[in-house]
C-alpha cells in the first residue's frame, strides 16, 4: 500500500519538502511531461509516491491546505506551508531553468492557482523575453542591493569609501 500524500508531507524533512514543492511546481508547469520523468530529474529513483504527495499541493484542493489557508487569512500574506523562505528555486536539473513557484499563494486561493495556468519549459524562455513575470505573482520578490550610504554609517565613513 502506498502511503497517503499527507503522511509523506508531514513526515518529510524541510529539505524533502522543498523538493516536493519543486516537483509540484514542475508537475504543474509542464503537465505534458510524465510524472516519472520529473521524478527522475528530481533525483527520485522510481519513487512515484513523491509525486502523489506533491499533487494535492499543486492543485490547491487539498483539504488540509485549504484549512491552513483560511487560518492564515488572505490579507495577511502569511503562508500556510510555513516555508516562505523557499520562494523561488531554479531547478538545477533542468537546463531551461523552469521557474519553480512556491505553492503558498495557492493555499490562499490565488486567482493564479487555476489549473489552466500552465507553463511548458520550451515556451518559458519566450515568455520571459517578453517580460512576463513567470512567478505569476505567486511569490514575493526580495532583492538585496549593494549597500546604501545610510547603511554604511556616517557621512565621513562613506566619504572615505567613496575616495
Amino acid at each position: 500500500m502506498s502511503p497517503r500524500a499527507e503522511d509523506i508531507w508531514y513526515s518529510a524533512t524541510p529539505i524533502q519538502r522543498r523538493l516536493l514543492i519543486a516537483i509540484a511546481a514542475l508537475a504543474g508547469g509542464t503537465a505534458e511531461v510524465s510524472g516519472r520523468e520529473f521524478l527522475h530529474r528530481a533525483g527520485f529513483k522510481g519513487n512515484a509516491s513523491a509525486l502523489a504527495a506533491a499533487r494535492p499541493f499543486l492543485t490547491g484542493r487539498d483539504p488540509l491546505l485549504e484549512k491552513y489557508g483560511a487560518a492564515s487569512g488572505t490579507g495577511s500574506g502569511g503562508c500556510a506551508c510555513g516555508y516562505c523562505g523557499t520562494i523561488i528555486t531554479v531547478f538545477e536539473a533542468d537546463p531551461a531553468s523552469v521557474p519553480v513557484m512556491h505553492p503558498c499563494k495557492m493555499a490562499v486561493k490565488s486567482p493564479f492557482c487555476a489549473p489552466e495556468w500552465r507553463l511548458r519549459h520550451h515556451s518559458a524562455q519566450k515568455l520571459r523575453r517578453q517580460g512576463v513575470n513567470l512567478l505569476g505573482e505567486r511569490a514575493a520578490h526580495m532583492h538585496m542591493h549593494p549597500y546604501m550610504a545610510v547603511e554604511l554609517g556616517t557621512s565621513a565613513t562613506w566619504r572615505g569609501l567613496a575616495r
Binding site: R129, H143, H145, P146, M148, A149, V150, S155, W158, R159, A162
Partner: protein, 175 residues
Amino acid sequence: MSRKTVEGYLEILEDLMLGFRLQVFSKRAKRQLASHPKFYFFDTGVFRANRPAGPLDAASELDGAALEGLVAQHLRAWCDYSKGKHGLHYWQTRSQLEVDFVVYGESGLYAIEVKNAKRVRPADLSGLKGFAEDYPQSRRYLLYRGEDRFERDGVLCMSCEEFLVGLRPGRFAEN
C-alpha cells in the same frame, strides 16, 4: 554589431543580475518620448572596474557616469526597501530634454538629475523644468558636487552626498 546582438548581451547581464535597465517614464505622457531603456550596472564599482579608461577618456566623463550609477543603485535599493510599490524610471523626450531618474510610487513622484559639477548652470535645470511642465505635482532635485542647498525654478539643488546619506527606506531626501 547588430542591435539585436547587443540587446542579447544586455539581457544576459540582466539575467546574471549584473545590471538593470530603466524604462522611460511615460505615465500620462504629454510629449513624444524616447523609447529605449537605459542600462546601468547593479553597482557602480562594477562599471568603474570594467570601463576601459585610456588617455583619450577624460576622467570627468567616467566620473559623471559613475556618479549617476551610484545614485541609480541607491534609488533602486530605496524603491525596493520602501513600503509600497515604487518604480524607477528615467525621462527623455524626443527633443532631448532629459531627467536622469524618475521615482514614481505610492509616496510620490520625484525627478532627480545628477550633475558631476561643483556649480549649477541654468542649462542643467532645463530637463527638470520640462518635466515640471508636464508633471507639476512632482518634486524635483538636482544633485551636484557643491555644498550649498538652495531652490531655483522649483528645483531643489543639493549636494549629492547629502542626498544619498539622507536617503533611507520610507523617507526620501531630508526636507
